[in-house]
C-alpha cells in the first residue's frame, strides 16, 4: 500500500535494500555505555533493587520450604491438635486447615456475588455520579483499612443479641465468636480485590462490543449477563482468587472473631451448622499460637503449618496467573 502511494499510483517503487543492515542492539548494557553517569547509576540501582527483592523473596520461600519439609509429617494433615508439653505429642492441624477452607468459603460466597454486582454497577451504570464516587472511595477505604479495625467492628456487630443465633452464646451472653462472624468480616477483606479486578475486566471490553449487542436489539441487562460478564470471566476468577489469598492470610479477624480454640467447638446439635456457629481455628491462628513467641510454643508445628499455608497461597497465585494470561489471549483488536 505504501509503495503504491509513494509511487503516485503509477509505478510502485520497490524498497531498495539498505547497503548494510543496522546493527542489532545486543543488550541494555551495550547501549548504556553511551549514557550519562547518573543514568548508569540509576540503572545499576534499579538492577540491584530488583535482584535484592528476588533474593529476599527467595530467602523466605526457601527458609519456609526447608523448615516445612523438615517438620511436616503426613499425619499432621489428618490429626487434630492436642494439648501436650512435647512437640511430638501435640498432634497435627487438621481442624485449622479445614477452618481455613471454611472461612474462605464463607468470605468468598459473600464477597464474590457482592463484588461482581458492585463492579458491574460501577462500570456499566454508575449513576448518579456522586453515588458512584462514594462507592468507589468506600471500596478504596475498605482496601486500605487495617483488618484489625474491621475485626473490632465485627466484634461489636456480632455481639449484638439480635445476631446471637450466629455465634457462641452462653447464659445469655453473646460472644460473637463463630465461623459465620469471621467469614462475614473477612468478606470485606476480599471485596475490594473482587471489585477492582472485575471492574478492570469489564472496562477492558471495548465499547463497540456493547454496542454490537445493543445493535441486534438486546437490552443492557441482557448484554451484561450474556456478553460482558462471560467476557470478563477470567477477571472474575482472578478477583476471587486474589480475595481468597488475602482471606487465607488474615490473622487479626480470625483471632478476634473466631476465638482461639484449636479444634472446632460446635454449638447446638445440627452437624454442619453447629460448626459454623461455633469457634475453631485456621492455619494463621494456629501458626500464631504455635510460633516460638506464641502461647503454645510448638515451633515445629508452626513451621509445618506455615509451609502448608504458603503452598496454598502459591497455588492460588498460579491460578491467578493462568487466568490472567487467558484473559489477554482472546481479545478484540
Amino acid at each position: 500500500m505504501t509503495e503504491a502511494m509513494l509511487g503516485g499510483g503509477s509505478d510502485p517503487i520497490l524498497p531498495t535494500p539498505p547497503s548494510s543492515p543496522p546493527r542489532a542492539r545486543r543488550s541494555a548494557a551495550g547501549s548504556s555505555s553511551t549514557w550519562s553517569l547518573i543514568d548508569r547509576l540509576g540503572l545499576a540501582f534499579a538492577w540491584s533493587l530488583g535482584l535484592l527483592f528476588c533474593a529476599i523473596t527467595a530467602a523466605i520461600v526457601i527458609f519456609l520450604a526447608v523448615q516445612g519439609i523438615r517438620f511436616l509429617r503426613p499425619y499432621m494433615l489428618w490429626t487434630n491438635p492436642k494439648v501436650s508439653d512435647t512437640q511430638a505429642g501435640s498432634g497435627g492441624f487438621l481442624d485449622p486447615m479445614l477452618g481455613t477452607f471454611i472461612v474462605s468459603a464463607i468470605a468468598i460466597l459473600i464477597a464474590g456475588p457482592v463484588g461482581v454486582g458492585v463492579a458491574v454497577w460501577l462500570s456499566e451504570y454508575a449513576r448518579p455520579a456522586g453515588l458512584a464516587r462514594a462507592v468507589e472511595s468506600t471500596i478504596e477505604m475498605l482496601a486500605g483499612a487495617p483488618t484489625v479495625a474491621l475485626a473490632l467492628f465485627g466484634v461489636l456487630l456480632f455481639e449484638a443479641p439480635v445476631l446471637g443465633f450466629l455465634s457462641t452464646t452462653s447464659h445469655g451472653v453473646v460472644y460473637g465468636y463463630s465461623f459465620f462472624a469471621a467469614g462475614a468480616i473477612l468478606s470485606l477483606v476480599a471485596l475490594p480485590y473482587v471489585v477492582s479486578s472485575v471492574r478492570e475486566g469489564l472496562q477492558a471490553i471495548p465499547n463497540h462490543v456493547r454496542e454490537a449487542s445493543y445493535a441486534v436489539g438486546k437490552t443492557k441487562i441482557a448484554t451484561i449477563r450474556r456478553v460482558l460478564l462471560p467476557a470478563a470471566r477470567p477477571s472474575v476468577i482472578t478477583g476471587n482468587m486474589l480475595g481468597i489469598g488475602h482471606v487465607i492470610g488474615d490473622t487479626a479477624i480470625i483471632l478476634l472473631l473466631l476465638g482461639d480454640t484449636q479444634t472446632f467447638q460446635g454449638v447446638g446439635h445440627v452437624p454442619l451448622l453447629g460448626i459454623l456457629r461455633g469457634t475453631g481455628s485456621t492455619l494463621t491462628s494456629y501458626i500464631f499460637d504455635n510460633a516460638p513467641t506464641g502461647a503454645l510454643n510448638q515451633p515445629n508445628k508452626a513451621y509445618a503449618a506455615a509451609f502448608v499455608l504458603l503452598l496454598i497461597v502459591l497455588g492460588l497465585n498460579v491460578i491467578v496467573d493462568v487466568f490472567g494470561r487467558r484473559s489477554k489471549e482472546l481479545r478484540w483488536s
Binding site: 503504491a4 502511494m5 445493535a215 441486534v216 436489539g217 441487562i221 462471560p230 467476557a231 482472546l330
Partner: protein, 311 residues
Amino acid sequence: MELNRPPRVRRLSSAATVTARPPRTEAPTLVNGNGAGTVNGAGAMSSFVGARRPARPTVPTIDRMQVDQLSIAYESKLAVKSVSLPIRQGEVLALIGPSGCGKTTLLRSLNRLTELTKTASLTGSITLDGTDITTMEPTALRRRVTMVFQQPNPFPMSVFDNVAYVLRDQAKRRPRRDSLRPQVETALARAGLLDEVADNLDHPALRLSGGQQQRLCIARALAAQPEVLLLDEPCSALDPRSTAVIEDLVVKLREQVAIVIVTHNLQQASRVADHVGFMYLGELVEYASAAALFGSPKQQRTKDYVSGAFG
C-alpha cells in the same frame, strides 16, 4: 489523478459471472499494469480488488427508510445538518466523506444508537416502512435495523452461540440449541461463512480470522431478519482479500435487505454502491447514483473530494 473512467471497474475475465463462485478462489491480480489507477492514496491498493468484481444485475427496489430533514447535535455542535435521503432494499447506499463529516453519526441514528450518547440530540424524522422510528421500542427497531461495526467484534463465545444469541429473547437460554440450528446455519450461509465453519460450530469466535470474524458479525446482524443492514466501515480493519469477500457479499445481500455502508474508501464505494451520498461538515452535499456521483459530480466539493483534492 483523474477519474473519467466509469467507476464500475470492468471485470477481468468473463468467467467471473454474477454470483456463481466465491471470489476468494480467484487468483489475485497485481496492482500494476491493469490501468485501474487510483482515485486517491487510500484507494490505491484496493483498486485491484475492485477489478475482480463481477457485473451485477439490477434488482427491483423497495423503499424501506426515509430520512427527512435530519439534524443531529452533540451538545451545541451540529454533526449532521438537515439531511434527507431514502434507503431502499435492492440497492446499496454508500455514505462517503472525510473524517468527522457526520456519516457515522447519521448511520448510528438510523437504529437509534445515537441515543447511547447522552449529549446527542436529534431533530427531523426517520421512518421505517412508514413508521416514525422514535415511536418504536429501541430494541424492536434494532432488530429490524441491525448494524456491523468497524472493528470485528464477535462475542467471546462459540460461532454458534454468537448467532444464537440474537435469536433468543434477551438474556434467555431458550430455545435450545437444536431448534435454533437451522436458523443459525441460514444466517451463516447468508453471510457466506457456513462452508468455512460448518464442521465446527463450537469453535471460539475470537479464534477466527479477522475477515471471518467480520462475516460472523454480518451473520449475527442478519440473524435478526432485519429490513436494513448498517455497515460502519466494515472493511477498514481487514486485508484486501477479506475486503473483496465482504464487498461481494454486500452486493449479493442487497436483494434481501437494504444496505447502508459508511466508507472512507472511494474505490469501495464505487465497487459496491448503487447510490452514494457525499457528506461534508455534516451536510449531505450530493446524493446521486454511484455512476453519476463518481462520473459527473454536480457539486464542486464532490468533484474535489472524489478526485482526491482533499479528504
